[in-house]
Subunit: 483 residues, 4 copies
Amino acid sequence: MAVITADEYRERVARLTPRLFMGGKKVERLTEHPVTKGVIDATARVYELTADPQYADIMTAKSHLTGEPISRALHIHQCNKDLQKRLVMARLSSQKLGTCNYRCPGNEMLPSLAATTWEIDQDKGTEYHQRFNEYLKYAQENDLVVSGSVTDTKGDRSKRPLEQDPDAYVHVVEKRADGIVVKGAKQHATGAYAADETLVLPGMSCRTGEEDYALAFVIPNGAEGVTYVAQYNPFSVEREYAEDIQHIGNPIYGQRETCLIVFDNVFVPWDRVFMCGEVEYTQSFITRFAKTHRMNCGGACKVGFMDLIIGATQLVAEYNGLKNVSHIAQKVTRMIQLNDTSLGCAIAAAHLGKEEPAGSGVYMPDEAMSNIAKLNTNDGFWEVMRLAGDITGGVVVTSPSEKELDNPEIKDYMAKYLKAAAPADKRMRIMKFLQNWVAGLHGVGTYQGSGPSQNQMMVLYRITNLEEKKKMAEELANIKGCS
Amino acid sequence: MAVITADEYRERVARLTPRLFMGGKKVERLTEHPVTKGVIDATARVYELTADPQYADIMTAKSHLTGEPISRALHIHQCNKDLQKRLVMARLSSQKLGTCNYRCPGNEMLPSLAATTWEIDQDKGTEYHQRFNEYLKYAQENDLVVSGSVTDTKGDRSKRPLEQDPDAYVHVVEKRADGIVVKGAKQHATGAYAADETLVLPGMSCRTGEEDYALAFVIPNGAEGVTYVAQYNPFSVEREYAEDIQHIGNPIYGQRETCLIVFDNVFVPWDRVFMCGEVEYTQSFITRFAKTHRMNCGGACKVGFMDLIIGATQLVAEYNGLKNVSHIAQKVTRMIQLNDTSLGCAIAAAHLGKEEPAGSGVYMPDEAMSNIAKLNTNDGFWEVMRLAGDITGGVVVTSPSEKELDNPEIKDYMAKYLKAAAPADKRMRIMKFLQNWVAGLHGVGTYQGSGPSQNQMMVLYRITNLEEKKKMAEELANIKGCS
Amino acid sequence: MAVITADEYRERVARLTPRLFMGGKKVERLTEHPVTKGVIDATARVYELTADPQYADIMTAKSHLTGEPISRALHIHQCNKDLQKRLVMARLSSQKLGTCNYRCPGNEMLPSLAATTWEIDQDKGTEYHQRFNEYLKYAQENDLVVSGSVTDTKGDRSKRPLEQDPDAYVHVVEKRADGIVVKGAKQHATGAYAADETLVLPGMSCRTGEEDYALAFVIPNGAEGVTYVAQYNPFSVEREYAEDIQHIGNPIYGQRETCLIVFDNVFVPWDRVFMCGEVEYTQSFITRFAKTHRMNCGGACKVGFMDLIIGATQLVAEYNGLKNVSHIAQKVTRMIQLNDTSLGCAIAAAHLGKEEPAGSGVYMPDEAMSNIAKLNTNDGFWEVMRLAGDITGGVVVTSPSEKELDNPEIKDYMAKYLKAAAPADKRMRIMKFLQNWVAGLHGVGTYQGSGPSQNQMMVLYRITNLEEKKKMAEELANIKGCS
Amino acid sequence: MAVITADEYRERVARLTPRLFMGGKKVERLTEHPVTKGVIDATARVYELTADPQYADIMTAKSHLTGEPISRALHIHQCNKDLQKRLVMARLSSQKLGTCNYRCPGNEMLPSLAATTWEIDQDKGTEYHQRFNEYLKYAQENDLVVSGSVTDTKGDRSKRPLEQDPDAYVHVVEKRADGIVVKGAKQHATGAYAADETLVLPGMSCRTGEEDYALAFVIPNGAEGVTYVAQYNPFSVEREYAEDIQHIGNPIYGQRETCLIVFDNVFVPWDRVFMCGEVEYTQSFITRFAKTHRMNCGGACKVGFMDLIIGATQLVAEYNGLKNVSHIAQKVTRMIQLNDTSLGCAIAAAHLGKEEPAGSGVYMPDEAMSNIAKLNTNDGFWEVMRLAGDITGGVVVTSPSEKELDNPEIKDYMAKYLKAAAPADKRMRIMKFLQNWVAGLHGVGTYQGSGPSQNQMMVLYRITNLEEKKKMAEELANIKGCS
């Protein structure tokens, strides 16, 4: 059965035993630690949505390998419609979770792997694509959570891998008959410790001489030699020590949880290796992943988040008794503009997408539009945060704990003085929800997800046909009429 | 024959005799006055592009009334593809003309007329749609230039039509058996004096009691009682007195030329009246026109203009010897981002468009996305202008005349001192081309075309489903868990 | 002795016993709770700076009442130089603390009280000014920490005080021979629970009929009937449970800590009442406080914070090996521009300031410039945060805990994989410091401190002489030459 | 007599006979050509303001050389108050003229010459300062209009002077006993052809080997070998052919008029040479000029222009019947914020200014603040233009000519249809005035005046003490506690 239930997922995840550290301590059981539990609850919710008939068209697809219904999270886009449904899926998940859906990063690497392994095989007679398809079939048939990791730890950013500690980038340290041994570490790996599998892609475009770094593979959760070190921040501590998670910002699902993955001489059998040494394809690998990720992350995932921020901000305004105030409506409209702008560019990316490489059957979004969707979100998300903070006011950051509502010594004060046009508990709860967005990790997280602005600017400058625009201007200005 | 040649167009336009004033004087012959000649040359160029086989798919369509090939400028969108081709047509025209194509405003009213006359007839058993189709067939068969006008002169903006000089808005002053008599004036009518026909739509949403203002009709060029007063500004004077138009910014086609149209008791026969008194439909008339116009104007026409500005700016940078300077590349990339953002939202508007009203066969773009395309262009165009001005530098506004290059007394000085990495004449010409964009009428013109930002903001606020967003936030924040 | 030492301050604060709740629990000892301890450490540091001879000119002043040297935090500005030194003091404190100095809000109310009590007495023959001077002498002689509170809880923002629960705004419930009894609550009161005294000013401009709300007074810490409810958020929890505060963002001094102050029938003797019923002066009270606060908060306090963010961001860039990257330098320069812009407007506010009311001896900053300093900071601070987040990258929010550096199981991994052009511990520590700024409470806090943007916009529109600007334009355009 | 009247100025300027070309033709009489007449009228108005007792404190100063009252335009700042009065003078002139006052650029070079000649003499025992003082005394005693020019034509911007046509930068071609012979050309020279004198400063920082380019001198109007080529653009043509200048945007004073000055082997006697070969001082020359100019140009001159735009925009809103519309008030307030921000930074520049070099007696503004005043104006001016264009609407660029108001055939139509809450003539006139600002040369002109943004960004990055900010962050983050 290719689409499993949330309960089946929960049973499977309960059996995982990754070597995971958080806040200086080992996490013994994923299902019990308050932070990792949030990751599992979020993922389980995605399984629920997938099983929900009203979302079937969005959350599931037909496997091009088996013809079976599968989770769209494991689907390779076969047409423009697939690209667009992918957007709808990403936005829906964000709206329902208020955090990462944890099936997304892997999902955006799969099409890049499908396209580029096909291309290498065509050019070089290798067998990567066949291996990849076998692996994909396995993942689809078991409806696995496939996570992904790209960003190396990089060490000194002014140096190439061979100019410094060679482990600053993940690389092959030994090739054997049955597989390869890899070393290094990847950072910002979203939800990897709770995923069934983690894909590993090159985080840079490699040059001749850097063959050991031109590397794509997949490992199962908790493979030998793998250590996960989880992020840890004020929001982690708050969740760790919460008596009642309803008092926390995004109560059930929490923040986006990432980790550092250390590969300490990890063995990977050949049937899980999808590139090894073909430096000339690293650029396509990354570019294809990046444009798919930027379309979804910039133009749909964060759009769903901004929907939540806009909705919550409007609630606060109404709870405060300021429903029809002109300057607030103006600001809310600006928030909507910013949100829909990112979405619009992503829809254009899906709509202008093409099969790439021709003959591969894989559809890729338009590169300019996907990069622009992300660029607009980068700045737009901060402006949405800022406007939300402006409208909701200082109480978003100065509010006492919701626990005081139950504190017999002062609960009457709280009810009396924190009410407005709505009761105190509603106001405090929605303020706490907004605190999570406007005074938390999401601003910088938006830059991090699918890369910082400068990357997108560089892509955009590189791929734009300036010559064509120059010719148009030359023609109208009649430059030919000059000497 | 439904698609005529540029020459056929020129012959026809030469026969027009509108009552037209410009700069305090009567314009006797449209084909001879330097300013009106630019309008005709631009329009003729559009006929050339339409006849050019390489653009056939973009510039022509199949009439849904006759099945004949027609200019897309007279086509009613029958599907999403039509909406998108409309975008490509608008951008192409802008790139080739650097000014208005003069067939656009009417073109964006025709679908609104098609949809709303159909709707009125369905509801009220009137015959507007049949009349409109007859008229449209006539226009298509003769490949007419159909101009349009919407914006009333409005008088005191704080007052409704009946609270002031009743002629501040165009209205019916007499209904006869054979037609109606109208009075008032419309402003910002682009190219109307050189068009075969001018459509007149209501410029406001009418209320009960304002039936005389709920009015849509079409008049032929120079109908009795009609007077045109052309815009007149520094760029008009420059063109009027130019010895050699190659020395002017957009040499052949010039600025976008508009006029005030005065209707002094103009008779319109019933078969040219498409609404008369149905106040409850004025809102749809305007909204449908606006969303079609905003998609094209904001997301394609100005995009073509920005293509030209970007191309010319890059040329200037190269002519100055600054091809690979980092901060210039960064700014050019920002210009590209802004341009493609508007385009992306327009593509989304086309792609998300729907038949409206259901059953009418007319396709309308998505209202949110079309308004956002325009909103982004409003501010984006100014930022593009600003960045172009920043990169090109002061010489864009302090340059001597190109005539000095032929002035025997100083031409050697000019050649010597205005050269850079390119000869003086090339630099001066592209600078003059850019002066037209960054120190001219286009900035404010961008706000005017399809309306100022506040209009789009109001639409966006009105049509956004804030309740849905509020619910999402309430669900995640578990507001139901409150008292 | 008018200037006490940090130790003397610590001894005094240790004797305070406010009724204070935080995170659902009563705080028994201010000096021991990790959060309140941070407030005390920050305040003690201010006493140290005040006693430091190198800062004497900035941190101290000569009392206009006694001629004695006093802390500038208790000084009434006697000239423009005083206003400017106040700026330098605020910026210095922010640079040294990275949080509130806790002597600031009261300090910005004192001049408003001095000016307005003088004015009321002049007009009405009351004795407020004399009382105020007596009180001020007492505060100066004992070098007290005088906190302040302005913002009422307000209830339904669309209603005036008398249209809803009358306690939504602090007001008099009884007038006695020996004093008044007050009821209501104030929010956002910075550091009040650890201050010796708290000034209470009206949070709104009162109208006739609202005399009971036109109220200014001062209470000692922990007055009978007063309850403090502290803010509580992820950063509070992190500090509460930290084993080593060096692992926290701003290790010693923490966040800006505020509280809700509930006044439950609190008695205030007449010699501590500085306004009672004079509704016509509430506007001046607020305006004078606001312009003083906006100059300092917007143009100096946050400037010191931005100095820290800029410095830390530059460190991160260097630690990453990206010292001389062009786009980073460009962004850092933009951060500097934003920071110095706020400072520049504040300096102008100090320099253009005037004695107000004439004869009172009190100097007030220029109202336009102080409001503009704050307005520029409101948006500028967010842009500085955003650029810092962009330059530092995702690790600011995805970093593991610094505790892992001591975790024997993985400390070698941490040292190896989190190093760059600097060792892992330095990078992690500065990243944690930045997390505090770019993923924390300060963004919204910036809006809250001295009020949201819309307030400043309204002031600016109200006080600008548009008539004068209109006349200039009329003169040049020769409007008089018209009919 | 050191301060002459407007009439005395007019008599003197009527005797000037520069070799001047404009629009391809030689200008025979400065006082008669419509464009050059505008320059003279503007300058004469400045003489009127200087003679007006109500402006005496602003427009005049006491010469530090003679003790006589002189025009402030020829004064060397002796203290911070002088710097600030200079700001008030610049803003006042802009408000009264709506264009350049034509005495400004020279005025901003004079302090730089005073300071740097003093410094060279101190270091090298030269006599430049004495020469300069003699020259200055002559200029003050005759109350001359001293223009200035800095920007070389530069040729290929990627090459130094000696790598290309050596005349791309003004330089010495011969040194004689009695003086030097110079060659090259300067561009953007404001009003030079109508000035009594033109100062010439180096436009770049020279290196060893480029001694011939390290050059400062002054020439009288129309010196032998000098040719002026005036800018020529649509606004020039409009003025050239206007029957009634009241129909033009800024009717009496027009645009800012600049020219190219060609030096074709021009002889300059030694007593007019203020630097010749001291490459190591070119940087200070430029920097001192730049910071003085940026303070005034960015923070006062354009502020006066923005005052006019704001005033005119408010008039249009009122003429249209939209006096109290909320979103318009919001936009006008934003315009005020932008304007006052630039002013505030300039006031801070004046206030923080210092004697430089110490001992010279010359006061220079603070470099950071003056650059920031200009930076803020660069973008702020465009935003003010944009908002003005948004509020006033399309009629600013689509308006017919005011001549139509006198056209007997249509004047009734014009009066009827262009009236609003004000008569047609007033509305048309103020719209035309605004056209001059929002659809004209001023946007790019703002970048040009005292240099483009990138220059200011580079200065700001260079002069900011990043080390100090890094230390503050290191201290608070306790980086020393690390390994």
